[in-house]
């Protein structure tokens, strides 16, 4: 099997930085690392499973109603993930609030199903879905890392920046409030895109 199916979505055809899909949730859930990781995991599972299932039944789906069927398949997995999160990590599922439900409308899912799963065998489709979810997850986690470290001084809720540095304890440091807001996430996504495009010359417009 072509290993590019797995490698490409991680970097050179990353869903967020190259295809610019799934931006909304990338801005919304990246204030802290823990919800970002859970979100990345959820999206990876949903994209993998729904790509697999759609690919299995791809020859029986009537072309004219394929979108609605894809939606039903995606919704199935999103509801499953949502219920599992509520059962086992209730606090985080409350933090993620509507964004888990909104995975249904995440452009990466429909994009991969339309572009890949409908025309490929189940196993490659599954791998493609997983890889795209992971490509999304890498960016999410990278941004959440920067945002939580600079915005709250913590990582996974553990204090990283020494408390004695803070101005309230006689030090000089203060958390940067801008990093806990969504606009900074957009700027960070922009910076990641900038870095990627300066490395990957074929992405630059003439």
């Amino acid at each position: 099997m072509d290993k590019n199916i797995f490698i490409k979505p991680l970097f050179t055809a990353n869903p967020i930085t190259v295809l610019v899909l799934g931006i909304c949730s990338a801005l919304a859930v990246t204030a802290k690392l823990q919800p970002a990781c859970i979100m990345a995991l959820s999206v990876t599972i949903v994209t993998g499973c729904s790509s697999f299932l759609v690919s299995l039944i791809r020859n029986t789906i009537p072309n004219r109603i394929r979108i609605i069927i894809q939606l039903v398949v995606v919704a199935l997995f999103v509801i499953l993930v949502d219920q599992i999160l509520k059962a086992y990590v209730y606090e985080i599922s409350k933090q993620l609030s509507v964004y888990v439900g909104l995975i249904i409308t995440n452009c990466i899912l429909m994009g991969r199903i339309e572009a890949f799963a409908l025309g490929n065998k189940p196993i490659p489709s599954f791998i493609d879905g997983i890889a795209n979810g992971m490509g999304y997850g890498i960016i999410l986690i990278a941004i959440a890392f920067v945002r939580e470290l600079l915005g709250f001084g913590t990582l996974f809720g553990h204090q990283i920046i020494p408390l004695s540095w803070y101005a309230s304890n006689g030090g000089f440091y203060e958390n940067n409030g801008l990093f806990s807001m969504a606009p900074m996430a957009l700027i960070l996504v922009g910076i990641v895109v900038w870095i990627q495009r300066s490395i990957q010359k074929d992405l630059q417009e003439k």
Binding site: F172, E174, G177, L178
Partner: protein, 393 residues
């Protein structure tokens, strides 16, 4: 001058292509053209030829900022002496202020120009001179006790995110100096939100060191909290004249309306800044202010006389130095009237109706910076339509 020119000409081959320091060409070019008007002329097309090039224009703006800076330096000392009940002579106050303001200016220029030079070197451009003005304005709109590392971060953010990614001077959407301030405003709100005043040493001081009856609310915050009469930090009545002259606490360069007006005269006289934007900015504030006064219940913030608004907070500084930035303001002549009017109007609206932000000038200008291209688009289109009608008739 002659000697300097000789030195520059002697050094030139070393920094030209093929010379020993050829890779530092952009840096050398920046200093050469800063000192002397370049002799290169354009060869193609029609150009307006004028010895006043971009660097000379920038120098005029920096010159116009000098009264505000000089007053600000004295005022830093003055406010410090009032807050701590110290007896200081005039020169002691100036020296105290100078020692506090100078590091801010140095940090602003070193960080900003450092990034500008580095990015020009990397891209092989000539160095953009836009930062000469921004670097001076940024310290003037900061609280005097802002930590230097926060200032450095804000400057870096403004230059990289606000300017370089758009392509450098002349390409930016937002005023870089205001962007630096907005960065501090949102990232470190405890330093700059505008509720409490900024005086050197205040944040570190404990109550017992301060003068008797000292209070730390800014005039704008007092109004937002429904005060009937404004008071100074020591509890006396705060008069219009005092706010006009500017011996009140505030960001370094924005307190003195009179020093800013001197700068405005220089800018208008030399034709560097647009008088239309300044006038329409005031007009917008007055129009909305009068409207709000008209519908306000007596004794509320909205009832506060509009002419007082013009001397409070950063209104004057913003209208004269920030709104008129030729890059980020509207370009069309009719567009300038609309642009300025909306800045003034928006400032009063934010001040009076938004309890979150006591001061509205910064946000109003940034908002209208965003809309300036749209305003230009509609002005140009309406002109095209008018002319098309004339042809059809």
């Amino acid at each position: 001058m002659k000697g300097l020119l000789n030195i520059v000409n002697k050094l030139k081959p070393t920094f030209s292509k093929g010379g020993k320091f050829g890779w530092l060409h952009s840096t050398f070019d920046a200093f050469e053209t800063f000192l002397f008007v370049p002799s290169t002329v354009t060869t193609k097309g029609a150009h307006v030829r004028d010895c006043v090039d971009l660097k000379r224009v920038m120098s005029v703006v920096v010159l116009a900022l000098m009264p505000a800076l000089a007053f600000g330096i004295w005022n830093v000392g003055e406010q410090h002496s009032i807050a701590f009940g110290l007896d200081m002579t005039f020169w002691q106050k100036v020296w105290f202020g100078f020692l506090k303001v100078l590091p801010l200016i140095i940090v602003s220029y070193v960080v900003g120009l450092g990034i500008e030079f580095a990015s020009a070197q990397i891209r092989g451009h000539e160095v953009n001179e836009g930062f000469l003005v921004s670097g001076m304005i940024i310290p003037l709109i900061m609280p005097v006790d802002v930590p230097l590392w926060i200032l450095a971060l804000a400057v870096a953010f403004a230059v990289i995110i606000g300017k370089e990614i758009f392509g450098g001077t002349g390409m930016n959407i937002w005023n870089p100096a205001l962007l630096a301030r907005a960065f501090v405003f949102f990232a470190y709100p405890s330093k700059i939100s505008g509720d409490t005043i900024w005086i050197e040493g205040l944040s570190a001081a404990n109550q017992s060191q301060l003068a008797d009856g000292f209070s730390g609310a800014t005039p704008l915050a007092q109004l937002a909290n429904g005060a009937q009469e404004l008071v100074t930090t020591t509890g006396d009545h705060l008069s219009f004249m005092q706010m006009f002259i500017g011996n009140i606490p505030g960001a370094i360069g924005e307190t003195s309306t009179i020093a800013i007006l001197i700068g405005a005269v220089i800018l208008i006289w030399t034709g560097v800044a647009s008088w239309k934007i300044m006038i329409s900015c005031v007009a917008g504030a007055v129009a909305v202010g009068l409207l709000i006064n008209g519908i306000a219940a007596p004794g509320t913030y909205a009832d506060y006389p509009v002419w007082q608004h013009l001397v409070m907070g950063g209104f004057a500084f913003g209208a004269v130095f920030m709104a008129t930035d030729p890059v980020t303001s509207a370009q069309t002549e009719r567009g300038k009237w609309i642009y300025g009017f909306l800045i003034g109007a928006m400032t009063i609206v934010i001040r009076v109706f938004n309890p979150g932000y006591p001061e509205g000038m910064m946000l109003a200008i940034l908002l209208m910076n965003t809309f300036a291209p749209l305003i230009d688009y509609f002005v140009i289109n309406s002109n095209i339509k008018k002319r098309a009608k004339r042809i059809a008739a």
